[in-house]
Symmetry: C2
């Protein structure tokens, strides 16, 4: 069919790269300096000296908690962390047929049915809605770890382990997945990894959550969008792919030939290097590298860390590229004995804290997110009825 | 807490208003002229002289189908339209506890588990993926109407009605919801309403689908995001709210006092008027007004149309505002005897055709959609350990 008008290719950078899509006071990525702040605080002391629960408090309330505030948040989370039995009933027929991320997305979507605060958030005043949103956020945050852990165990034909009220979110998660409470050093490092993944500006899944929330859709709808978005291989799937790469390499002396073979291919890229925003090393990778090393000393298993270090050196030498957060979270989770299948769901457990903060921020000062498309198709085509085609 | 740096309020128009977020050749909204095209064709002849199935073909294949192509598409849709029994098993515990939109979102998310093509779309070549995507799109398009209709009936304690292979998508939907096949004029007008809602540039739900798809998440993940986004009251909920308004007005002579009372309030807005993109009348409203009138003659029930006409005239006179697509779809669906609760899900059934086209377009020439946030929070806050707070 002839095109009466020439298509106009876009002059804009595609994928909204470098385009400001809205205001936020949650986190800032300094791409040139390799620096990341949450609510004005550098991530390094947050990861190394505070717990993930403190980070959640900071993101949601804009301040580090006092001991009493932290106790109150922990009590709220502990009170909400058990998954309604009906949610397991809903998900059970899907177990073994769907990926963990698909199950998690469906589970969060379904949980809205058993949250009576959701309906009340519609058509109410801003203050009441903010209060209800915070209650819903706590409930969802408390449940997402147990949901992931339970789905993982069901998928292996094992019984779901209930979360304990006396453990941290990090400790509980490891206990539920692995079947026994972790060592203190394991818990500390997993907790720090959760903090390091909590928020990162308008990354794709967070942005999806905000696009959904901006129609005044509720928290469950927004987090469901975020999980679906994180599930794509260009986003949350990266650390799993890094781990698969480490497993494929398998031995320290296979690192160099493996990398050289990839780089010899046209467009060949090694997983876990480079980042759209960071021009220098991703600061989360810097912290995680230290933690991975420390974990190695604690567990006595240095295999994944050693391969990662050598890989990093070789890629840096050959391509001048820096590792990103996915690169070292893979060896941290791998050294904790976690299955690569659960890496992206762990990302969701952590990032849920940021997603929820963004949804609450969007709802508190809302405007529909509705960009324009650059139309590059034909115009003025003439309709032909069926019998003349 | 003192802020060491002053926040920088955004200079950008918020909500990405007027910002081009990417290329598309699916539809173009001419906001100043009140014109809408799909793939270069004006929507008026598409709505009035073609069927919704032809519109789906146009959106997905970039051409109006020949009779043979249309038969092939219909056969594919008919073959796929039955919902796997397990999907009902998954959703049943939620019925009566969740809204139809929440059920639909969860149902589409869950359906991915019973679509064996989904896993195959990962890590394959572009051509194979495009083929698989088209197969998945047909399956999802075929099932979304039966899913909505079945969930609606389950919610009323009625048995699910299976779709028939001999009816159009529009006819089938009305038959499944209402329990008997519609009159020809009812089917024709409902079919046109589906065409008119099929696509509309980068509206919020479509954009959400693209943000999700751009991480290379699969079709089910993307459509799940779209449904959650459409469910917000600033997007798909509008025609339901128009209908509630019409019901509240109830009588023709209550129109003027009702409108005047709303407009007397500060910021008072009448539902169904104005649009972010159209500066003149929404062309879909123009077609739907004609259809609503024609439907009135066919059904002999002119109540909702008469109230709508008078409301339109009065709002135009008082505020100079034009009705949008939601305004006349409410009286069309109301005159068809449809429950307002199902209006937004009907929007999803129609828009699914556009969402799927956008996801396939995004996947065919993909780039991660990752904008920046304008950080307006504090910087350089100093970390205080817990025991010093």
């Amino acid at each position: 069919m002839a095109s009466p008008t020439a298509p106009t290719p876009s002059k804009q950078p595609s994928g909204l790269q470098g385009v400001t899509a809205g205001d936020s006071s949650l986190s800032k990525v300094f791409g040139e300096e390799g620096r990341l702040i949450y609510r004005g605080f550098q991530i390094e002391p947050l990861a190394e000296q505070a717990t993930f629960e403190e980070c959640v408090h900071l993101l949601w309330y804009d301040r580090l908690p006092t001991p009493a505030e932290l106790d109150a948040l922990r009590a709220d989370l502990a009170a909400a962390q058990s998954i309604p039995a009906e949610v397991w009933t809903v998900l059970r027929p899907m177990v073994g047929k769907a990926s963990l991320m698909d199950l998690l997305r469906t589970g969060v979507s379904a949980m809205s049915a058993w949250d009576e605060d959701v309906a009340a958030t519609r058509d109410t005043d801003a203050e009441t809605r903010a209060e209800l949103n915070l209650r819903i956020a706590k409930r969802l945050m408390a449940r997402i770890g147990p949901l992931v852990a339970g789905l993982y165990r069901l998928g292996r034909g094992e019984a779901v382990i209930e979360p304990r009220a006396d453990l941290s979110m990090a400790g509980n998660f490891l206990a539920m997945v692995r079947g026994s409470a972790p060592q203190a050093e394991e818990e500390r490092i997993f907790d720090a990894a959760l903090t390091l993944h909590a928020d990162h500006g308008f990354n794709a899944s967070t942005f999806a959550a905000r696009v959904t929330a901006a129609t005044e859709a509720d928290i469950y709808a927004a987090i469901t969008s975020a999980i679906g978005t994180l599930g794509g291989r260009l986003h949350g799937g990266a650390n799993m792919r890094v781990m698969h790469m480490l497993e494929k390499i398998g031995e320290l002396d296979r690192v160099v030939p493996f990398v050289d073979e990839i780089l010899a291919q046209p467009g060949g890229r090694v997983m876990g290097f480079g980042h759209r925003v960071y021009k220098v090393e991703d600061p989360r990778a810097t912290v995680l590298r230290r933690m991975a090393q420390s974990l190695t000393s604690a567990t006595g298993n240095s295999k994944w860390f050693d391969i990662s270090r050598k890989l990093e050196d070789h890629v840096k030498e050959k391509k001048g590229l820096f590792p990103n957060v996915d690169f070292y979270s893979a060896s941290v989770y791998g050294s904790l004995g976690l299955d690569p299948e659960i890496f992206t769901p762990i990302f969701a457990v952590s990032r849920a804290s940021g997603w929820l903060a963004h949804v609450m921020e969007q709802h508190a000062d809302n405007r529909l997110i509705r960009p324009r498309a650059n139309y590059i198709g034909q115009t003025d085509r003439e309709f032909t009825p069926m019998d003349a085609r």
